[in-house]
């Protein structure tokens, strides 16, 4: 974890509710895809955790959906403004166990952390298929970016307005050595059932601190209690215990 001041260099809408923010500064705290940052915003007490979409040199890319006061405030910010950010939070994805034919399954704003992961895996010489799921054609983003990075991309939409009609689990290739996923919990549950290899899941939870101090975001796993912010957000398939 590092506490740094990052400067906004770009903040633009990708869809009607999803924004891409680029920031520059010391990003040495970020070591793995799938980690997140925690952003302080004026007038709001708790920081806002946002997953890392990409780190390229000293430029950090974050993609966020406007869902509440914090992300609404972020969407109104402009280049030149500075943010107080805790970087390098969470365990991130472990690419060392992936094998050669890797499947990525992302849903909605669960897609962004898979982008840096795709780049990392491709850089390691692995072949990557990215299945990106959205509700409708209007919500689709980053299809071209994944393709440009060298991934085979399949887009699904729930209403069939773009790509394959259905969910990410309706567009999975037959053969893959390992998978990585991030998305809403119903999607993660469906992926859990539909996959037959090992894999890693990234979870979301309301957090207090984001660095393991408050126990606000704990969950039960096969290997004991874990803090989503510190021991996660990425859990291995075999350690997940679904509640409810």
């Amino acid at each position: 974890m590092k506490k740094v001041i990052l400067n906004i260099i770009e903040n633009r809408a990708l869809t009607s509710t999803v924004y891409e923010m680029k920031l520059s500064g010391d990003l040495s705290g970020i070591t793995r895809p799938g980690q997140f940052v925690n952003i302080q915003l004026d007038g709001l007490y708790l920081r806002r955790p946002i997953s890392v979409c990409d780190v390229c040199g000293d430029t950090l890319t974050l993609i966020y959906k406007v869902v509440g006061k914090g992300t609404e405030k972020m969407s109104g910010m402009a280049a030149g403004q500075a943010l107080d950010v805790l970087t390098g939070l969470g365990n991130g994805y472990d690419t060392s166990v992936s094998g050669e034919k890797v499947l990525l399954l992302g849903g909605g704003v669960g897609v962004p952390p898979l982008y840096m992961l795709a780049k990392r895996l491709i850089c390691e010489g692995k072949s990557v298929t990215a299945v990106l799921g959205f509700n409708t054609a209007d919500e689709v983003f980053y299809e071209k970016e994944f393709a440009a990075a060298g991934a085979a991309v399949r887009v699904t939409t729930a209403d069939g307005s773009r790509g394959i009609k259905g969910f990410v689990t309706d567009a999975m290739p037959e053969n893959y050595s390992y998978f990585y996923t991030c998305g809403p919990e119903p999607m993660l549950k469906a992926v859990y059932k539909a996959t037959d290899t090992g894999g890693q899941f990234s979870f979301e939870e309301r957090m207090g601190c984001g660095f393991g101090a408050c126990m606000g975001c704990s969950c039960k796993t096969v290997t004991g209690y874990k803090r989503i912010c510190k021991d996660g957000p990425v859990l291995e398939k075999e350690e997940i215990l679904w509640e409810d």
């Binding site: 974890m1 309301r206 207090g208 408050c214 126990m215």
Partner: protein
């Protein structure tokens, strides 16, 4: 000793700043980013007889100038705290520590305190009879002076270490509870624990917290804490550890003027992991600004 030093129940503190239980884990997350030996002490995560997961999530919600938590005393239980957590803490923190203890019966409190009494690094037992997030324990002992007295009596019987009782503000008159604890031999009082509150999610039209209610902390509660410390300092003669929304060196000074001997910093650590460090660094400049030579001289100065 220096200008910042204070003495709490016979134990010297280099400065009065103590991260509050539940906001600092067992210290080592923070030791990764700064040398935590600059702290006066630290109060580690509330410990119970048996391991606890706590409440279902979500158990955190934001409020204006603060937050609600309904963690519910997640901890690995006293045996694992002693065998796993404290050895790790010892490696990064070399000063006396405050052991925070909670329970669900008078026997629980005595059992856990007796075990922690054997730990050399533990200088004080902070007996939490004020957790608002557990059912059938915690705060129910701290809202009745008879129950509070029973816990203090049972704990005093099993330890020679100073016993500091952590009180709930969710009562009609906090001074009555404090006096009952003092009468049973409590060596100090710490206050305030969180205030009970709730939020409702407008989209779901349901409480944000799965536990429905949670404990409010953060700057929003500082004036309530200050008032409770002030009133309690007038009512008892044992030392007081003040806390509740402390975010700056000025807040520390205010609480000490109201009668606190030491001050705990809670929610601020969660928002800025360097908060306790910054408060300590800001103390001397703030003292200079307000013409304070030694911190120990101002304790209760506004009473």
């Amino acid at each position: 000793m220096g200008r910042l030093s204070v003495e709490l129940c016979g134990v010297e503190l280099e400065n009065p700043v103590i991260p509050a239980s539940g906001t600092f884990g067992y210290g080592y997350e923070f030791a990764e980013i700064y040398d935590i030996n600059i702290l006066g002490s630290l109060s580690f995560k509330g410990t119970t007889r048996e391991p606890r997961f706590g409440n279902p999530t979500p158990r955190i919600a934001e409020t204006a100038s603060g937050m609600l938590n309904a963690v519910g005393l997640q901890n690995p239980g006293v045996d694992r705290v002693i065998n796993e957590e404290l050895p790790k803490l010892r490696k990064c923190f070399h000063k006396p520590i405050m052991a925070n203890v909670s329970g669900f019966s008078v026997e629980d409190y005595a059992y856990t305190c007796e075990k922690l009494d054997g730990q050399q690094q533990v200088a004080w037992l902070e007996v939490n009879i004020s957790c608002p997030n557990v059912h059938g324990g915690g705060m129910s002992f701290g809202t009745d002076k008879g129950c509070a007295a029973q816990v203090v009596r049972a704990v005093k019987a099993v330890t020679a270490k100073p016993v500091i009782v952590k009180l709930s503000p969710n009562v009609t008159d906090i001074t009555e509870i404090a006096k009952a604890c003092e009468a049973e031999g409590a060596d100090g009082i710490s206050l305030i624990n969180t205030l009970m509150g709730m939020r409702i999610d407008l989209k779901k039209k349901k409480p944000v917290l799965k536990n429905t209610t949670g404990g409010l902390s953060g700057p929003a509660i500082f004036p309530v804490a200050l008032r409770a410390v002030y009133q309690t300092a007038k009512a008892v003669s044992i030392p007081i550890v003040g806390m509740g929304g402390v975010s700056s060196a000025e807040d520390v000074i205010e609480l000490m003027l109201a009668g606190a001997t030491a001050v705990e910093v809670g929610a601020a650590n969660l928002v800025d992991p360097f908060a306790s460090k910054k408060i300590i660094e800001d103390l001397e400049p703030a003292m200079d600004k307000y013409g304070i030579k030694n911190l120990k001289d101002i304790i209760g100065g506004a009473l």
